[in-house]
């Protein structure tokens, strides 16, 4: 069913990651006309996950395969799922919410669920941009084999950084982990795994200043925070795993955000704007996993259904 020409919906879900697709499944089963759209490919950060081993009921699967199934489930219950849909404008203040999407048109609904997820944090250096796919990578499983028998660095100090550093030793001659603090944020088991690998070395308390090279990456320059000295580390590859930021910049002034740019929502995932709910990694919370995103999607959808029921009752009461 091609429903792209439909403009009126019961619920518009912005974001088609784990939270958004789950919300869609619940809304669709409740027979709410639901549009799920995403500015990028359907799946959010899940699709960037090579192997998921902690999703209950699934022994191990790629993020892409879980996305595929979730999308099938959402579409099977009547949701329209639209990827690569750039939201140009939103007006969420009134009873009818308006969402304008590039190339697709303007959509309205009484309820919007914001499930916009997170985007990888970047260092923000000009040279980072210049060496993307020319030595700088954000995916060890995708690009690791380009660096066979070469010296590389991994930037970051969380679980992802240390796990990927160990994984990259399959290819690289040496892996230098560069971290901005003197202590890792990673769990002790991840630190231990990295420390016992003879190919992994550590540069702690370093601020990345510049990536240098002629066409392709040749070295990373850092500043030692303890001595203020510049340190040059020769490397043909740099893998960045420095966390995520909420994809909410475009929501400033639209709904309440906290100082970290996360959407503020109550226990039922209501934002400060009536009829607007939040779910997933974009909202203020401590833990961000596929499982927590799925839980958020469920709660937001059920709250949205309750809101729509109350709204319909109010309309009936008004008419009476």
């Amino acid at each position: 069913m091609d429903t792209h020409d439909r403009s009126e919906w019961d619920v518009i879900v912005i974001g088609a990651g784990a939270a958004g697709l789950t919300a869609g499944i619940y809304l669709g089963r409740a027979r709410q006309k639901t549009l799920i759209l995403d500015h990028a490919t359907v799946g959010g950060q899940m699709i960037l996950t090579y192997a998921v081993a902690n999703y209950p009921g699934v022994l191990e699967a790629s993020g892409a395969s879980i996305v595929h199934t979730m999308r099938q489930q959402a579409e099977a219950v009547g949701c329209t799922v639209m990827g690569n849909a750039d939201v140009l404008r939103v007006d969420l203040r009134g009873d009818t919410k308006i969402v304008e999407v590039d190339d697709e048109g303007t959509f309205t609904a009484p309820v919007v669920i914001l499930a916009t997820g997170g985007i990888p944090r970047r260092l923000g250096l000009d040279s980072e941009e210049a060496f993307q796919a020319r030595g700088i990578s954000y995916c060890a499983t995708c690009d690791g084999d380009f660096f066979t028998d070469q010296d590389i660095v991994v930037i970051g100090g969380g679980n992802s950084a240390l796990e990927e550093a160990v994984s990259l030793t399959k290819y690289a001659s040496s892996v230098t982990v560069i971290h901005e603090f003197e202590e890792f944020q990673a769990q002790p088991w991840a630190v231990e795994e990295a420390r016992k690998n003879p190919k992994v070395r550590f540069l702690m308390a370093q601020e990345v200043v510049e990536f240098v090279g002629d066409g392709t990456l040749a070295a990373v320059v850092t500043r030692d925070k303890r001595s203020d000295e510049l340190v040059r580390t020769e490397a043909n590859g740099a893998f960045l795993f420095i966390g995520y930021v909420p994809n909410t910049r475009w929501l400033e002034g639209v709904v309440a955000l906290n100082s970290r740019g996360e959407i503020v929502a109550d226990e039922d995932l209501r934002t400060d704007v009536p009829g607007v709910f939040a779910a997933g990694d974009a909202r203020a919370k401590r833990y961000r996993q596929i499982t927590t995103a799925v839980a958020d999607g469920t709660v937001a959808a059920l709250s949205a259904i309750a809101y729509l029921t109350e709204r319909a009752r109010g309309a009936v009461d008004s008419a009476a």
Binding site: A40, I47, T49, G83, D86, R134, S137, Y138, C142, T216
Partner: protein
């Protein structure tokens, strides 16, 4: 074979025919990995909006890729999947490495393949 909805370039002869025919074409050469799948998705979305451009994928580890896209001078500095090349008038007019957004792809299609 890659599991996408794009047409596949599976032989060197097919690639050479695109070049010699002067076709406007975008070819995403990758694997079914996290950085490649989004780019296939972008191309699938844009396929209907650019009817004069042919959109393809190509399996990065297949011989055809080693003989064609991976051998192009334009991609020798790339260290990130997928390699995406854009053809027009028998030449490579643009090439990118790594994940690309819809906006980035549209910029190339509008700027280099128009």
């Amino acid at each position: 074979m890659l599991q996408t909805n794009l047409k596949h370039v599976q032989s060197t002869a097919e690639f050479n025919a695109l070049l010699s025919g002067g076709e406007k074409a975008a070819i995403v050469c990758g694997r079914m990995g996290p950085m490649c799948i989004p780019v296939y998705g972008v191309m699938e979305t844009l396929e209907s909006k650019y009817p004069d451009v042919k959109f393809f994928d190509m399996e990065f580890d297949a011989p055809v890729a080693r003989e064609t896209v991976r051998a192009l001078p334009d991609v020798q500095s790339f260290y990130g999947l997928p390699f995406t090349v854009y053809l027009k008038d028998g030449k490579v007019v643009a090439a990118t490495g790594g994940i690309q957004s819809k906006a980035q792809v549209k910029d190339i299609l509008d700027g280099k393949l128009s």
